[in-house]
Each structure stands twice: as C-alpha cells, then as structure tokens.
Symmetry: C2
Subunit: 497 residues, 2 copies
C-alpha cells in the first residue's frame, strides 16, 4: 500500500463515517426536538443501529490497520496534520480492536438492559435492583483497563479514553488542590451567614425566549449557521461545520436555567463552528478532548457570563422583559447569579461547588477499579463523601448514588472531564487576559477579542493537537490547577467573605 | 449460491438500504420543515449524496445479480411474496444496470445544473435559457428508452419506469376517453353561465390549524404514528411503518388550500401506515406504483371530501371556527369546493379539469420521444394545446411551458401517474360502493368501512402485486377509464347543467 493509497483509503472512510454520523446526529435531533411516535421506536432503533454499526464496521475494517501501519512507518515524511490523523486513527483503531468481539457483544446487551433498570431503581430508590448490573459493568471496566493497557494505574486507561492523556497522577494533583483550597472555602462561606438576594418568581416563557438570541449573539454563536431547538436535556450537536445546533429548555419558575443553558451550549457551538474546514477530510474536525469542549462551554457560562461586568449588561435586558427586576441593581444581580451553596444534585450545583461533586465520583471510581471498595458499598461511601466534602448527607438514593445515568451506561472515567474542562477554561481566560481586557469586551457587548483569541488558539485546531499540547501552545504553560483554584478562591472570597 | 444465501444477502441489503433511505427521508424532512442554514447546503448535499450513493451502490453490487439469477431459476419453489421480491429486485436492478455508467454520470451533472437554470428561466420567462438543457435531457430520455427496452412504443419504457405496466396503448385509450367526454363537458360548463358562490376572505391560520387534526382523523391517518409539519410544498414521507409524516401549508387568503392538502397527504399516509409490517424484510413495503399511491390521496381529497355528504360534516366545523360561514348552507359549500373552471396552472386545477393538464404534457412528451416535434417548438405547441383542450392561452411562459419542474429534473413519463392514479381511485370507490354505503360512512364521520376495505384490498399488499393485478384483484376488473369518466360526468353535470 502506497502512502497515497493509504490516505485515499482513510479519506474515503472519513467521508462515509462523516455521512453516517451526520445521519445519526439528525436522527437524535429529530427525536429529541420534536418527539418520536412511541410505536416507531423499534424500527427507528434498528435503522439507527445499522447506521452506527456501519460507521464502526468501516472504521475497524482490516484495511484501516494496513493504512495505519503504512503511514506510521512513514512518520518522518508526514505533515503535522497528516501525523495527527494517523495518531488519532491509530488510537481509536487500537481501542476498538482491544475488546474481544464476543465480550463487546455481551457488554452492549448488558448496557441496553442496565439503563432502563437504573431509571426504575432511581424511581423506586432501590439500590439492589441496579447492583448486579453495576457489578458486571464495573468488572468489565476493570478488564477494559487491561485490554486498553496502561503504564502506571489501571484507571489511567479509562481516563485517557475520555480525556486523552489524563491520568490518576494528574487528577490526584488536580483534585488535591481543590480539596485543600475549595472545600474549606465552601465551609467558610456556609459559616459566613451571607444570604444574597435570590431570583424568585415566575417568568413568562415567551419573554425568556426573547433573551436567547441575544445570548447566542453575545457569545458569538452564529445562528445563521445553526438553529435552536427545545428539548428535555439540552445539548449541542453538529450536523456539519455550517450547521451546528444548540438546544435549551425553558422553565417558568427558573429564569437562570434556560439563560445559562443557552450560554453553555453556545460556547460548545462556537468551538464547533470555528474549526478549520480543511480538517474535515482528515477527520480532525472535532474537539481536542471532551474536557477541552467543556472548557469552552463553562468558560462562557461561568467566567464570562457570571462576571460583574456581564451582570451590568444583563440587568437592562432583564428589566426590559420583566418588571420583576425594576428595583434590582447590578451588584444584586451579580450576587444572585453566583449563589454558592452546597447541594446534593450535581447537575444543579453552582460554579464553586460543582467540581467537588465530580471529586466524589472520581475517588469512588478509582477505588472501585483498584478493588479497594465493592459496588455493594457505594451508597454508604457516597453519602460519607458528600458529608465530608460538602457537609450534606443525601436523604435518599435518588439524591445520592443513583442520581447519574453514567455508570449504568458504561461511562466510567467520564466524570473528571467536566472538572478538568472547567479548569482548562480558567487557565485559558488567564492567558487571554494578558492581551485582552475581558471586562471591557463584556461591557462593550463585543467579545470578538476573546472569541478571536479562542478561535486562533483553540477552536481552529480541532483535534490536531492533544489537549495538553494545545493548552500549552495556547497558554504557554502545561495544565495547572492553580488558575482554576485561584479564580474560584478570589471570586468567592470577594463575594462572600 | 443457495436459495437461503440469496435471500439472506438480499435481506441484508434491504436492511442497509432501508436505514440509508430512512436517513435520507429525515434529512429531507429536517430541511423542508425547519430550514437549513444556507452555508451548510454544500456539506449537507455531500453527506446526503454519499448516503443515497451508498444505497444505490449496495443495490447494484454484483452479488445482487447472483441473487437474482439464483432465485429466478427457482421460481417454481418460491412463495408469492418471495416471487414478488425477486420480480421487484430484478426489475430495478436491470434498469439500474441498463444505463452506461459514464452516461449516467454526465446526465446527473446535467440535471444538477438544469434545475436552478429552469428556476431562473421561469422567473425571467426566457425559454432559450433552458432550451439547451431540455434538448440534452430529452435526447438522454430517448436513449433511455433503448437502454430500458420496449416492445411497442419507445415511450412505454419511460412510462413503465414510473407506472409499472403503463403503455402508450393504455394511455391513448385513457386520455382518448377524457378527450371525448370531459373536454366537451368543460366547455359546456363554461357556456352554462353558472357562477357558484365562492369562499373569499381571510381565515386566521391558528384556526385553520385547529381543523387539521380533525381532517387527519376523519381520513383515518393515525397521528400517533406520525407527525404534521409545515413546508412550502406539502408532501408525505415515511420514516418507518410507524412514523409516517405529512406536511401542509397554511394560506390566510385560501382556506381550501391547507384543508385539501391535509386530506390529500393523509390519504398518502394511510396507505403507508397500513402496509403489512411483514413486507419490510422483503423490501416490498412500498406502493404498488406511483399511480396507486396517488389514487389513495386523490380518492380522499376529491371523491370523499368533495362530496355533498362531506360538505354536511364540514360546514358545522367551519362555522365553529369562522363567522364567515354563518349564513352558508351545505349546498353552497358543496358547490364552492367543486368550482370547475379551466385554468393555466396545473397544481391549482380543479378536480374536473386536472387530467386535461396532464393530457397536454402526455401528448407533448410522446411526440418529443417520437421525434415528431422539437424541444424548441414546445412553447407554441403547449399554448395551442391549452387553447384546444381548455380554451385558454397562457400570457407568458411561467403560466405556460415553464410552470413545472419535472422536465428539468429529468422526470419524463411521470406526469401520467397523476391522472392514472385519479382514475384508479374512481374505479376503487366504485368497487367499494358495492359493499359499503359511502355517504352514510361520511355522515357518520366513520370512514372505517372504506378505509378497512382499502387496507384489506390495497394498502396491506404493498408492492407484492403489480398495479394492474392489484386493481383487478381489488375491483374484479382490469383498469377501465370509464369509472373515472362516468364519475366526473355525473358529478359535474348534476352540479352545473
């Protein structure tokens, strides 16, 4: 196989996989934004299964290996982008091939059963319903560590699957810093007795919807190259580079929910819209890592749109729509969108406490993989960790160990990307501040100096660099948790103490 | 290749093609019901092209031929449904293989250019813009006749492509009957001086929308197994057997437009929803022919929902929504939905004159294929035919020869299916009347005796039978234009003369 043949083969695969994945994305969009007839679920699932199966089959076909071997042998002759393509294809191919097919089949069947069982278990608050599934899933994940391979810690193999290059060593350091600085801060804040004014009331949904386009435009998400849908659980999906869609959900009694969800998904969409089009043929038009994607959404959601400067821009908009805000001032609004209060449910957590929820899951996953704890002991250990880190103890399993779908869907090693991404965001904004006056940009309602920096240094590169390299190139430093810890400490100390 | 291998191979192809076609249907639904970002059209087109190309490639792969040969040799051993599958696969395969690939490639490119040129030519009313495209397209169509093959008339090859078994012989007889009976009737009606009261005014679109579910339910389209979208040009699309979607378009100044469009598409949807699920694996869960599909939509649109009995049911609904109808009576409404008046635009034509629009196109296509006329002469000939048949002469090309997209998109031999389908509908309802009191069913707002008959005799069979066999089995007679001619003559004579 010549170099040209190898690339042409991979390009053709990318074209096929791109079209199949686009179809899958549209099927998902269609089902979530406008609903699916109940009776059609089986036929739809079968078609969807064929499409995703075909995408996988094309990727793992034997000629992929031949291409990889041919091109890896030519490493010195390759351009940066070609080398990145070979690296990513090789990485994914070896992972896909690492799992014995019959094990993969059985595991897929297990997962298909586990998720609905988890839903019932959560509803009935009955851990014993899901326990046998957890036991099998966790055992599979442990074997997965060996199939994937690792150098230092078996859990590294799983972490790396979601966040390329992540390891126990890196995460222990990261969470160690949070444990040392953020956990005491939360307790101090709790003890301070500060009670900021809260946004409470009902807010007309039609009016809330008027706010969304402004928020998208503010972040820089190009609505002409996408659309906005409404769903139960908001997400961002890419149909192609010029059709990146976001979703949101409006709650009459929670104004901030749709507002920050729209900003969050706009941040994701901006990343997708700004990737170089030339990357598509190489299959590199995707995020550097899940954490890097999350960094973009959280950066806008929290650092930009929970800033004092943004409260100044938001308040007149809110006043124009809701009489409720007539007697509010900017400082009150700033404090209201930054209420920090330990809670039990991760997805409702505030900026300050969020990463501690992740820490609980990280520590438990790590201990499970090492065999230090048993799946049967998770509920009690979970509650103890929450009490220790956040000072709260769940009343029931639905607010405790059964709140997340991830474990029943086999996503093990995934949670940390949420926290790492948030920390990447803080490091990136720290770098941006060296050349950009962030507050002025917000006050001008013109984030182009920020989004331009992100496009140039992060977005356009897609998956060409690994996340650590990308972060280092963009910020001049390797990943360092201190930017995130310092940011949180300074912001919330100033707010509360 | 054994019988089992041949069937398994074809079943696997059907699964793949079904999934790919479902993706295509969803892409089309998504684009038409909620719009596509302009900049995404190219990438979307590329993905869509890959999906439809893959569907085609799988179908024309060499092993399809081996399956066909294996199974055709076993004809005596096959069940009815197996034989139908082999017939349909063989038919489509031979057509697909008949066109030399390089010719097909050049023709596809030509068509991609021609359609936007046609739009501009229509807009500018400039026939010379499209003429060179028409010349090449028509020349290709003539060669297509030879590639497909025919027994009597070259045009038969094209007619059969859209309506299996249709021929010049059949259509000359059919249109001859219309020419003889319907054309004079139209002129008589014109001369009668009758001027029925017309529905004129503006009708709130939100209220029009309240009517649609009732219309769907009335026809028997199961909204729980589909959904209703809004588009520029209404259509019905099948995602799967339990997700059949219709579309409509509301016009404030034209109440009847959405009303009859909803009924029409519901008729199509009913056919799709009622096909036996067991046909899917054989790829036979589709219409017996395009004409048969059109028969189902037109039957409900015209024979059922432009009946006196239906006017009786519709009037109270309209009164409940629009004060406008306060002083209308049933007879006035019946006459208002049946105004017959020669016009120039096919898609706006009434029930009586519609098929004459088709006849103009049929005669011109036939003469073009025979080389009796030249593409350059079409505008004048078109106008002459309209004057002769309908007593009207177009003022410009947009109301004349440039009104339809079909020729620029290569759909040659397609128009007749609209008229044949309408005639099938009349023959089917004539047969239904032998066992069902149609007017009473309408008055009871319970069409189940009619839809039950159609499901049993037409819908459930999908593409197992050819259309002529299906019609003969259902009605006891081969296709006969007299039912359609008699139906129109009686209805409109009673109304107008």
């Amino acid at each position: 196989m010549t170099k040209k043949e190898a690339f042409d083969t991979l390009f053709a695969k990318n074209e096929a996989i791109g079209a199949l994945d686009m179809a899958e994305a549209l099927i998902h969009w269609d089902a979530t934004t406008s609903g699916v007839p109940m009776k059609s679920i089986e036929a739809r699932g079968a078609a969807s299964g064929w499409l995703s199966g075909e995408s996988f089959r094309r990727f793992v076909a034997p000629d992929t290996q031949e291409c990889i071997e041919t091109l890896e042998a030519l490493d010195g002759e390759l351009t940066t982008i070609e080398r990145a393509m070979v690296r990513e294809v090789g990485r994914r191919y070896r992972k896909a091939k690492a799992i014995p097919p019959e094990e993969f089949q059985a595991y897929s069947t297990l997962l298909a059963q586990a998720e609905p069982i988890w839903e019932k278990a959560r509803e009935k608050r009955d851990y014993n319903m899901i326990l046998p599934y957890y036991e099998k899933i966790f055992a599979f994940q442990r074997r997965l560590c060996d199939w994937y391979g690792y150098e230092k810690h078996p859990y590294d193999a799983l972490l790396d699957d979601y966040e390329k290059g992540a390891s126990v060593e890196m995460l222990d350091r990261f969470f160690g810093a949070l444990r040392e600085k953020i956990s005491p801060l939360i307790k101090e804040i709790g003890a301070s007795g500060q009670k900021p004014k809260e946004i409470k009331g009902t807010f007309d949904i039609a009016k809330q919807k008027e706010l969304s386009p402004w928020l998208c435009d503010f972040v820089g998400y190009d609505r002409e190259r996408g659309k906005i849908g409404e769903v139960e659980h908001p997400f961002c999906t890419t149909i192609n580079r010029h059709d990146v869609r976001i979703t949101t959900k409006y709650h009459e009694d929670n104004l901030l929910s749709a507002l920050y969800s729209t900003v969050h998904e706009s941040g994701h969409a901006l990343y997708e819209q700004n990737m170089d089009e030339g990357l598509t043929v190489y299959g590199l038009d995707e995020e550097a890592s899940m954490g890097m994607h999350e960094s973009q959404s959280r950066l806008f959601e929290n650092i930009i749109c929970r800033s004092r400067a943004f409260a100044g821009q938001l308040l007149p908009k809110l006043r124009g729509l809701f009489d409720y805000f007539a007697d509010w001032n900017e400082e009150e609004l700033y404090r209201a969108v930054n209420i920090a209060r330990p809670s039990l449910i991760r997805i409702e957590a505030d900026e300050l406490t969020y990463s501690l929820h992740i820490m609980v899951r990280y520590e438990l996953e790590k201990a499970l993989i090492m065999g230090d704890i048993k799946p049967a002991d998770l509920p009690g250990l979970w509650d103890n960790e929450y009490e220790k880190l956040l000072g709260l103890r769940p009343d029931n399993l639905a607010e405790g160990v059964l709140q997340d779908v991830h474990w029943s869907s086999g996503a093990f090693g995934y949670f940390p990307t949420y926290a790492i991404g948030t920390a990447y965001g803080a490091q990136l904004v720290n770098a941006i501040r060296k050349s950009v006056d962030v507050d002025t940009a917000i006050k001008n309602e013109d984030l182009s100096p920020i989004t331009g920096w992100l496009k140039e240094n992060v977005h356009r590169h897609g998956a060409v660099m690994l996340p650590d390299e990308l972060l280092k190139t963009a910020t001049g430093e390797p990943f360092d948790a201190k930017y995130y810890v310092d940011y949180l400490s300074e912001k919330f100390t100033e707010l509360y103490l």
